[in-house]
């Protein structure tokens, strides 16, 4: 089969969509209260550093994904075992995204539809796209990039135009707020959504111009970080700290308040679409990462054959992982605090250090 290649535009679009994913919709960094937007900005440099770590590893091993070079750097046995960890974690994270989308949809307008049906529709779309290959997926990402930017512009415009924004909700920032902001930025926001970019280590090998990956990626992270910051700032400005942290989907609550000239009102559908698009891309990238790592570890020649099993596992784990949305959020906190940082930051950092030492002292055979 022809090698699939993706361009820097496509990488850019994929990273932005991935970052938006669910982060646009669910409240992030709750500890920091009304200073969430500051914490997103604070986490941004950390996110860029994390990305540079992944990018460094990619440039050192341009043809391998994360499991490939983990085995190279740490040796076959340790590397293989460590890489195996990525499969369940990424699967679980993908299924969490699916769960969030399903729950929002049910809360919004599908109270009669079983969550299983809603989730399985999404999984079917993801499976179809991934079956067509990462190249096709990247191209659709380019098209949806414009769609989501357009939707974002409309949403933000109507919210501002409707005169709902109250800047008093964002300020003042006391010294305690700054401390809280920093505390929620590291590690929470750093990991979700920035650290999750670890998935892109499996997409990098398809990149056609390796030297451009850094620029495209950093630009995408900065852009998505700023837009996330802006969106969450608007949400807080509209809703106030209290409602923002209590509502399940603050953006949804925000948009329902819009009433422009008694004509443009209830644009909930736009938010739902934005969420569906975001989740679709985020989940697909998670699924692809799982497929890629699995194919590498278990020597599966045709990566497409893994679409169906991965899709089905994600679908079922999205339903059985938590009995209700609050439980799901609780699980998320634990997951975010103890498991994701290891995989997203600690292991890649370890890899970089070990690789550097081995390279410096010529320990590679």
């Amino acid at each position: 089969m022809r090698k699939e290649v993706i361009s820097s535009y496509q990488l850019f679009a994929m990273i932005v969509l991935f970052e938006f994913g669910t982060a646009l919709v669910v409240p992030i960094g709750l500890e920091s209260g009304h200073a969430v937007w500051v914490s997103i900005l604070m986490a941004l440099p950390g996110g860029i550093i994390l990305y540079l770590i992944y990018n460094y590893l990619y440039l050192e091993f341009p043809t391998m994904n994360i499991s490939g070079y983990t085995q190279k750097i740490l040796g076959k046995y340790i590397g293989w075992t460590l890489s195996l960890l990525y499969i369940p974690v990424l699967l679980f994270n993908g299924s969490r995204n699916l769960r969030e989308a399903g729950d929002l949809l049910i809360a919004a307008s599908y109270d009669q539809t079983p969550v299983f049906i809603i989730n399985s529709m999404m999984v079917i779309a993801v499976m179809y796209t991934l079956y067509k290959g990462i190249e096709v997926f990247a191209r659709s990402a380019e098209i949806y990039f414009f769609v989501i930017i357009l939707m974002g512009l409309i949403c933000n415009f109507v919210v501002i135009a409707a005169g709902l924004v109250d800047l008093k909700n964002l300020f003042p920032l006391h010294s305690k707020d700054w401390k809280d902001a920093l505390a929620s930025a590291y590690p929470n926001i750093l990991i979700f959504p920035f650290g999750e970019l670890v998935c892109f280590t499996t997409i990098f090998p398809h990149f056609n111009k390796s030297h451009k990956a850094r620029r495209a990626g950093v630009m995408a992270i900065v852009l998505s970080g700023l837009l996330l910051c802006f969106t969450h700032a608007i949400e807080i400005a509209v809703l106030g700290e209290n409602i923002y942290s209590r509502s399940t989907f603050p953006i949804f609550t925000t948009i329902t308040l819009v009433n422009l000239a008694n004509f443009i009102q209830r644009l909930d559908a736009l938010v739902i679409l934005a969420l569906v698009v975001g989740v679709f891309f985020k989940m697909s990238i998670y699924c692809y990462a799982v497929m890629s790592v699995t194919a590498d570890l278990f020597k599966v020649r045709e990566i497409r054959n893994l679409t169906l099993p991965v899709g089905i596992v994600v679908l079922f784990s999205s339903i059985v992982s938590a009995e209700s949305y609050p439980v799901h959020m609780d699980e998320g906190k634990v997951f975010l605090k103890y498991i994701l940082p290891i995989l997203c930051a600690v292991i890649p950092l370890l890899l970089v250090i070990v690789h550097y030492i081995r390279k410096k002292f010529g320990l590679y055979r």
Binding site: S7, S109, F137, S140, E142, A269, V276
Partner: protein, 521 residues
């Protein structure tokens, strides 16, 4: 079966790998064989006569209707007019001499060839040549006398434009090629012709501009055409279906047009035209999705107007694909999206309607499709009557009878009209039947279902390729340079490069100097 005679001295050198069956030297036998081969068809005309001074039997053979009678007469009389001795010429006594003489004379009017082989002879006859057979010679002189009734170049009927050339292609491949050549006066406009179809032996030409068209696409197309083994090619649609890479895709990946100016423009962008004898529809490949929403007129109008019109077409695409689906999902799932007074209105309209919105939509859509299909096949006068009865009477009556709600009639008709706003008919067809699937999903899953279908559709379209060119380019893969002529059209002065991926080399349309000159004017 066929009399073989190797007496003629120069037969040996014409040995080709497949065994040739040569023309005999016996005229009577030859004529009988021709009659046999064509099953004594009545339109085969054999005129026998004798050259007086040599007493040599000669026969002219042609197929009535494929030839121009005047040309035949000219050819035969020209070839035979050597009764008087001319100065310095040998006296013509034997058949061989006569043949040499005729050949010499005949060749002077051009387009004459010598035929030794039966296969060639039959092929020549069938393509409208007149053959002169001479007693005692194993060769025939063939004169190009093809003619007969063809439709004249007339106005385009399926792709009408207000501004621009009124010419459209005809059924004759030669006319079609000349129509394009007249528009591109460049020696680099190359034509290659081949015969496809075991029985029909249809002439299929591929036309491209050497140096602009991509070699890769050209090679691919040629191998695909060579792999075609069917008995008949009756329309370019046969070729289209046989060379399409994605046979089960709802989207057409080969563009067709009956406008020479459209073909010329596409050739200049580096695309390849496939012209098939017997049809006014010329195929163009590689095609991209965007191409089906561009009309030639876009380039003849000012850029701002054509850009807006293009945007309008994309809006129509969205309406014709998702219109009824969005309406149904708003009614079923997202009532809050509709402003309250309108919602009350809609609800009161639907009060007497016994069916769910989905069934209502399907009833109206199917009715609309029936009216449309019936209207196409009917003569234009009756067609109008049908559309009046169908559109006005039926729509009104259906509402009054309480089968559908008035709002649904509006939605379905705006959808139907939108689907006609797509310049390419085959694309409009695909969109129309995809609409049914989307309505179905929308009835069960609302907007979420629509967006899921959209993911699958876009992924599918991104996976398509037409002669190796991604179908969704220049949107996915996104190519900044080619955006100038995709969703909107920028001024002609700024369209300096040809669409990338279609023509990879010789990409520059105009020199920057020339461009600047253009700007100043």
């Amino acid at each position: 079966m066929m009399p073989k005679n190797k007496e003629s001295g120069n037969t040996k050198e014409t040995q080709s790998p497949e065994k040739q069956i040569l023309i005999s030297t016996n005229l009577a036998e030859n004529l009988k064989e021709i009659s046999n081969q064509f099953g004594n068809s009545t339109d085969i005309v054999i005129r026998k006569f004798t050259i007086i001074c040599t007493r040599v039997q000669v026969a002219a053979v042609y197929i009535d209707g494929l030839v121009d009678k005047i040309k035949v007469d000219d050819f035969v009389s020209h070839a035979m007019s050597f009764n008087t001795h001319t100065e310095g010429q040998q006296e013509v006594t034997s058949g061989k001499d006569a043949f040499e003489y005729i050949k010499e004379k005949a060749l002077s009017i051009g387009e004459e060839t010598m035929i030794k082989d039966w296969k060639e002879l039959c092929g020549g006859l069938l393509s409208g040549q007149t053959l002169i057979l001479i007693e005692g010679l194993g060769e025939a002189i063939s004169g190009s006398t093809s003619g007969g009734e063809v439709r004249t170049v007339s106005e385009a009927t399926t792709q009408v434009s207000i501004r621009g050339s009124k010419e459209s292609f005809t059924e004759s491949i030669d006319t079609n090629i000349s129509l394009i050549r007249r528009r591109i006066k460049s020696p680099n406009l190359w034509v290659e012709t081949m015969k496809i179809g075991v029985v029909t032996q249809t002439n299929v030409s591929i036309m491209y501009i050497n140096g602009i068209a991509s070699e890769k696409a050209l090679q691919k197309l040629k191998t695909q055409l060579k792999e075609i083994h069917v008995d008949a090619i009756l329309e370019s649609g046969y070729i289209e279906q046989l060379i399409e890479e994605n046979k089960f895709s709802p989207f057409p990946t080969v563009f067709n047009t009956e406008r020479p100016d459209s073909v010329a423009a596409n050739l200049l962008e580096g695309r390849i035209a496939i012209i098939v004898d017997g049809t006014p529809f010329v195929l163009i490949a590689p095609a991209t999705f965007i191409m089906f929403f561009q009309a030639v007129e876009d380039y003849y109008q000012r850029f701002d107007i054509s850009s807006l019109i293009r945007l309008l077409r994309f809006l129509c695409l969205v309406i014709s694909l998702f219109g009824p689906a969005i309406f149904i999902s708003a009614l079923n799932f997202h009532q809050e999206m509709i402003p309250t007074p309108l919602l009350i209105n809609l609800a009161s309209q639907r009060e007497g309607v016994p069916f769910p919105a989905f069934v209502e939509a399907i009833i109206m859509e199917v009715t609309f499709e029936i009216i449309r299909e019936a209207g196409i096949r009917l003569p234009s006068q009756i067609g109008q009557t049908v559309s009046i009865i169908g559109g006005l009477v039926l729509g009104q009556a259906a509402v009054q009878a309480g089968i559908v709600s008035p709002a649904m009639v509006i939605v379905v008709s705006i959808t139907g009209i939108s689907s006609f706003a797509t310049p390419a008919f085959n694309m409009a067809l695909s969109i129309r039947y995809l609409r049914f699937a989307i309505v179905f999903i929308a009835a069960f899953m609302g907007l979420y279902g629509i967006s899921i279908v959209a993911f699958i559709l876009i992924a599918h379209m991104c996976s398509l390729r037409s002669l190796g060119v991604p179908y969704m380019s220049p949107l996915g893969p996104f190519i900044p340079d080619s955006q100038k002529d995709a969703v909107y059209r920028s001024p002609l002065q700024s369209m300096r490069t040809r669409p990338r991926l279609v023509s990879q080399k010789n990409n520059v349309r105009m020199d920057s100097d020339e461009g600047k000159r253009g700007d100043k004017q």
